[in-house]
């Protein structure tokens, strides 16, 4: 029996609202929002708290698209690819349209993953544990191939930046023996867990952009983007999704599946679905220039993650991502063990989770879709007023990531400068960031695979699922190489 009344509705609305704010603020994430609200689980019973916590989860994942589209600053790591096409759309006066497409794609992705959670949890969980460290390593490698796809016309520099990102991600302690790597003595406390992702991300995207604008000067105080145009093609219409059916299903499925695989995060989901959207596109050259296809792929995948990540959590006790790992705490604080018997022993809670997830997705859609035209006006604010606010928000966000760690603020500034230097020497920042995001997982699953095989590299070539992923990796690289050649020929 699902207990749903006014209190639960308020909790869901509050959760989604706060989650959207956390997702939209650079440096704040859904994980952080849930961690902050976790102690509230005591004040209310678990079922009521679930509406709040799942609201925070759905809202937190969805809110990231707002700054990604309007300011080219991903609010969350999983919305990096949203800005690739969303921001160019905003620049050409289609901010509201881009936001509405993103929100609708998020709803579809969320509902797709909810259906998967509802209907196929046991078989999908069984499938997930067939994916050993070897397959996870190959999937991360597959996600890395997006670097090649993004570096069209500039592949050598793009790949260099990607590898540099992987190298930088490995700075810090190696978990298996606690030895520090590439860490100077005077930073051995601050850099023990390496550079934190969010300050690096915000630095590279937000600060770099502001430094560049500062260099050219902000004499044009207002952005030139026109929101109130009467051009119908620049307004959102459901027809924008025409021809996107397969893309939506594929991307939602990729997002859901990546959520199911424990330890493979949301960033990998949106990167992978974006690269597949590009590979399958009839006009791949348009992705990255403001194509609806790219936006749909990114947003449906990162919301597809929500239901997906709950599958291994609720059926195996293994969280699918960092946010669901925090949710375990909510159950534990109530004395409920999440494991293979959870669904059997807690039917009521299970149905509440399904219902709450559906409600939260709908609330997310309503609270974002209708007021978004007002939020979109942020793009019209004068740059000399909005940029100081952005810097302030970035600094506060970076400081808050580890509950008041000043080193994260220095990281933010450092990577802002690094991104600025990259732009001067024509090294793309996005591949660097992708390498940085995936680097640690790449190493972890490589080392875990080697541990299991007793040191033999043959393990990467002997598993049937692995062969399939190898085929996708090779196809993806070949596609990117041919696309790159074509682009260079066109440039010539």
């Amino acid at each position: 029996m699902i207990e749903f009344g006014l209190l639960q509705l308020i909790m869901a609305v509050l959760g989604v609202g706060v989650g959207i704010i956390f997702g939209a603020l650079p440096g704040m994430t859904a994980t952080m929002a849930i961690a902050i609200f976790l102690p509230l689980t005591y004040a209310y019973d678990l079922n009521t708290s679930l509406f709040l916590l799942l609201g925070l989860y759905v809202g937190g994942i969805s809110g990231g698209l707002i700054p990604a589209i309007l300011l080219n600053i991903p609010g969350t790591p999983s919305s990096i690819t949203t800005g690739f096409d969303g921001f160019p759309m905003a620049k050409r006066g289609e901010a509201e349209k881009a936001l509405k497409i993103g929100i609708t794609a998020s709803l579809i992705g969320g509902m797709f993953s909810l259906a998967a959670l509802c209907l196929f949890t046991p078989p999908l969980a069984k499938l997930a544990i067939q994916f050993s460290a070897v397959e996870k390593f190959l999937i991360i490698l597959f996600a890395l191939t997006v670097i090649a796809a993004l570096s069209k016309g500039n592949m050598t520099r793009g790949i260099f930046a990607g590898f540099l990102g992987v190298l930088v991600s490995l700075i810090g302690a190696f978990a298996d023996n606690n030895h520090l790597r590439m860490v100077p003595d005077f930073l051995k406390v601050e850099l023990r867990s390496g550079f934190q992702l969010l300050p690096v991300l915000i630095g590279l995207f937000a600060l770099t952009q502001i430094f560049q604008e500062a260099e050219t000067g902000m004499k044009v105080s207002k952005a030139t983007y026109d929101l109130n145009n009467n051009d119908k093609s620049k307004r959102f219409s459901i027809k924008d999704f025409k021809g996107q059916g397969i893309n939506l299903i594929r991307s939602s499925a990729i997002g859901t599946f990546m959520g199911i695989l424990p330890g493979v995060g949301g960033s990998a989901a949106s990167l992978l679905s974006y690269s597949q959207a590009k590979n399958f596109s009839k006009e791949p050259e348009k992705l990255g220039t403001g194509a609806v296809e790219g936006l749909v792929a990114s947003e449906s995948a990162n919301n597809g993650l929500t239901g997906g990540a709950l599958i291994p959590l609720l059926s195996l006790g293994i969280p699918g991502d960092s946010t669901t790992a925090v949710l375990v705490g909510a159950f534990m604080l109530q004395g409920i063990q999440v494991g293979p018997l959870f669904i059997t022993n807690n039917r009521g809670t299970w149905y509440t989770i399904l219902f709450a997830l559906a409600i939260c997705n709908i609330i997310m859609f309503i609270t974002m879709f209708y007021p978004i035209k007002h939020i979109a006006k942020v793009i019209k604010l004068p740059k000399n007023r909005i940029y100081p606010v952005i810097i302030l928000m970035c600094v506060v966000g970076a400081y808050a990531i580890r509950n008041g760690n000043m080193f994260d603020v220095w990281t933010l500034l450092l990577f802002g400068v690094i991104g600025y230097i990259f732009s001067k020497i024509n090294i793309p920042s996005a591949p660097f960031l992708i390498g940085f995001i995936l680097g640690r997982d790449l190493e972890k699953y490589f080392v875990d695979s080697i541990k299991g095989s007793g040191g033999s590299l043959a393990c990467f070539f002997t598993r049937p699922i692995g062969w399939g992923i190898w085929a996708l990796i090779i196809a993806s690289i070949l596609f990117a190489v041919f696309d790159n050649r074509k682009a260079r020929r066109q440039q010539a």
Partner: protein
């Protein structure tokens, strides 16, 4: 008129602010009315460190008339926060044996040793550390592993544990016991697979990349009850007995350390900055004693298979120093995990 009312209101707010601000007891050595940051040595909010710290903080805050917020910052960050915090009662740490084990195993430096902080009361214990194997493993307990290896000269047993943590201690005790009682050949065939989180270790077991894993009893319990052969597990032994749980501990299995009975529960203590005035410690002792006698607190911990284990600061200090020193010789003599990896 409106302006006058506004001005009057503003003035009233300012005066109230000034009065309450000035009356704040900053110079009194008490937790009363303060915001306490409770750092823990883990970044997870689902592990025993967070769950115990959160439960203790919630009850302790009431008893101290303060507000407490748990910050899951990680091991080095937590000990560093305590080392550098002002002794003003606004930062405390609640953490388990990793506090000193990190130094003992060399994970972090001597500057973070117990001597450089003030030991507060012991607040709780987690006795539930356990070894588990796949349900079809050819042994039923830790004791049977060396017997199995002795009977099967080509067999090996791969045990997953973490470097520098409680599982490292548990492994070293078991390894040394096997070495002493079954000889080098059998001990050599017990190899280490270094794992991270419980999820990582479960995946290693399900992938067939290890044979026995170390984790919390509660986190593994469901896997011992399922019929799904792919993920089903059985317990091989506990580090210490748990009330009402019929699984043998090291002591029951006769696994000894240097010939003596070995029991190990994770002891959670409050740690404070080194030069904190004694008044804080006394206040904390008094509050924690009250909290420990509270039945709601006891049942909150029991619901998560943890237990109250109050020791006042003075006794807790003697206890934790003895525990650390008792393990140091074992850690010094034990082979490095690097040498025991397959």
């Amino acid at each position: 008129m409106k302006k006058r009312i506004m001005a009057l209101l503003m003035a009233a707010v300012m005066v109230t602010g000034l009065i309450t601000g000035c009356s704040k007891k900053e110079d009194v050595n008490s937790f009363d009315g303060k915001n306490i940051r409770v750092v823990i040595g883990s970044t997870s909010t689902s592990g025993d460190s967070y769950l115990i710290a959160e439960t203790v903080s919630r009850h302790l805050a009431k008893a101290l008339n303060a507000t407490a917020k748990v910050d899951a910052v990680g091991a080095v960050e937590a000990v560093d926060a305590i080392k550098n915090a002002k002794p003003d009662g606004q930062t405390i740490m609640i953490f388990h044996d990793m506090t000193y084990l990190g130094v003992s195993f060399g994970a972090y430096g001597e500057e973070y040793s117990l001597e450089n902080m003030t030991v507060g009361p012991r607040v709780a214990q987690n006795p539930g550390a356990a070894w588990a194997a796949g349900v079809n493993a050819p042994y039923e307990s830790l004791q049977e592993i060396p017997e199995y290896l002795k009977a099967n000269p080509d067999a090996i047993c791969r045990m997953a544990c973490e470097s520098g943590g409680v599982s490292h201690v548990a492994f070293v005790v078991f390894y040394e016991w096997v070495l002493e009682n079954y000889g080098q050949d059998v001990a050599d065939r017990i190899v280490v697979v270094v794992g991270g989180s419980t999820a990582d270790k479960c995946q290693l077991l399900w992938d067939g990349n290890c044979d026995v894993i170390f984790a919390d009893y509660t986190s593994l319990y469901d896997y011992t009850q399922t019929d799904d052969q792919k993920i089903a597990m059985k317990f091989m032994g506990l580090l210490d007995n748990i009330e009402g749980v019929n699984i043998p501990s090291y002591a029951d299995l006769g696994i000894t350390m240097n010939g003596e009975e070995f029991r190990f529960s994770k002891d959670f203590l409050v740690y404070l900055p080194k030069d904190i005035p004694q008044e804080y410690v006394d206040e904390l002792d008094k509050a924690m004693e009250t909290v420990s006698n509270d039945e709601t607190f006891q049942s909150d911990l029991e619901a998560m298979s943890y237990r109250t284990a109050y020791l006042k600061s003075e006794d807790a200090k003697t206890f934790i120093y003895d525990k650390r020193d008792g393990l140091q010789s074992l850690i010094d003599a034990a082979p490095s995990l690097d040498d025991l990896i397959q």
